[in-house]
Amino acid sequence: MAKTTKTSCLKEFTKGIIRENPNLVGLLGMCPALATTQEAKNAIGMGLATTFVLLGSNIVISALRRVIPKSVKLPAYIVIIAGFVTLIQFLLHGYLPALYTALGTFLSLITVNCIILGRAEIFACKNNVWRSALDAAGMGIGFTLALFLVGSIRELGGAGTWMGIPLTKGFEIPILTQSPGGFFVLGCVIAIVSKIARKKPPRTIGCQGCPMSETCAASQGGCSK
């Protein structure tokens, strides 16, 4: 029994790294994945800031899941998430001002990052604190690794540096640091990770996989499926 629980916890943690990577498999949080990955160090900063917010919000939402009424679920989640985002802004502004300036407006935009709201809605509001924390840590690490990978390729290929260290100067392809290059690199990385994760689209979604199943009449036998 204990072994099953341990395996289940490990699965909860590791699923977000590759198999259910929120960014490269779930295709969520694409805005920061394109906008803050011109340099690898900014990508890590963004990934870690998001992980902090994801971890904090998942833990709090999971702890309050029996207290928050359904009718105010969404505003309550947004307030909690925005609180953690403001907290990380205070910390970065005070202790890492260079990173705070580099991330700019995208730091505030973590509030509306669909990975965070998605994990709160899909996982944290249905599971205990421990499992929610593991889920958030795994998803956060997966997101950070995805950003770091895309950022490293773009910086190395586009600017000839990696983490600010000159490595391939003279062989740069500048477009990689620009928006079209970002789409190209992200697309290539998504293709490779999909191949590794062997993720195929489901043939039929069915009522159970549908996010509207709770309110939809079809799932309650109201009309034919």
Binding site: A35, T36, Q38, N42, L64, V67, I68, P69, K70, S71, V72, P75, A76, V79, I80, A82, G83, T86, L87, F90, L91, H93, G94, Y95, P97, T101, A102, G104, T105, F106, Q178, S179
Partner: protein, 175 residues
């Protein structure tokens, strides 16, 4: 408890708790943030105008955070303007003794990284250097128009204040 009563009470409690925690967070980090901002201004001054003893002038104008002067007679305006988002640009505009813009330096800019990089390039900033009068037209950068507008607004504000309050500023330096 009835959901009609429970829902607003729970939401109010959550909002109050988050506000309280943020107030605590602000209290714990405000000194560090103030020190980081002050250091950023000092670094920016040193980068754009050289290592020197800068004097803070005891003058206040609308839209100017602080006013500095350096030993060679340059007046430096510390200005915050809006670029792509509100108050996203914090700049230092130097105006020399001849009343011409001598240097522009960014303390911080929180527009998107691409826009931020473009407006900090010398190719864009050089059009403002040497200006002694307000010029309504300028070459904005395609794809960073609002960020370009922010810099133009800061230069215009500094020149306007310098031209309209020159005596006051020079007198302030003498004191």
């Amino acid at each position: 408890m009835n959901d009609t009563i429970k829902a607003p009470i729970v939401l109010t409690l959550i909002c109050s708790a988050v506000c309280g925690l943020l107030a605590l967070g602000n209290h714990l980090t405000k000194d560090k943030i103030a020190a980081a901002e002050s250091q950023a201004i000092q670094d920016s001054l040193a980068n754009a105008f050289g290592e020197a003893e800068y004097t803070t002038l005891d003058l206040q104008f609308d839209g100017v955070n602080q006013l500095f002067s350096n030993p060679d007679g340059t007046t430096i305006f510390d200005i915050t303007t809006s670029g792509y988002e509100k108050n996203s640009q914090h700049l230092l505009i130097g105006i020399d003794e001849n009343g011409e813009v001598s240097a522009i330096s960014f303390v911080s800019i929180s527009d998107s990284p691409t826009q931020s990089k473009k407006v900090q390039e010398t190719a864009f900033l050089s059009q403002f250097i040497g200006q002694s009068e307000v010029n309504e037209t300028y070459d904005a950068i395609a794809g960073a128009t609002k960020s370009s507008d922010g810099v133009h607004t800061a230069v215009t504000r500094a020149l306007n204040i310098y031209c309209n309050h020159k005596e006051e500023i020079l007198h302030g330096k003498d004191n």
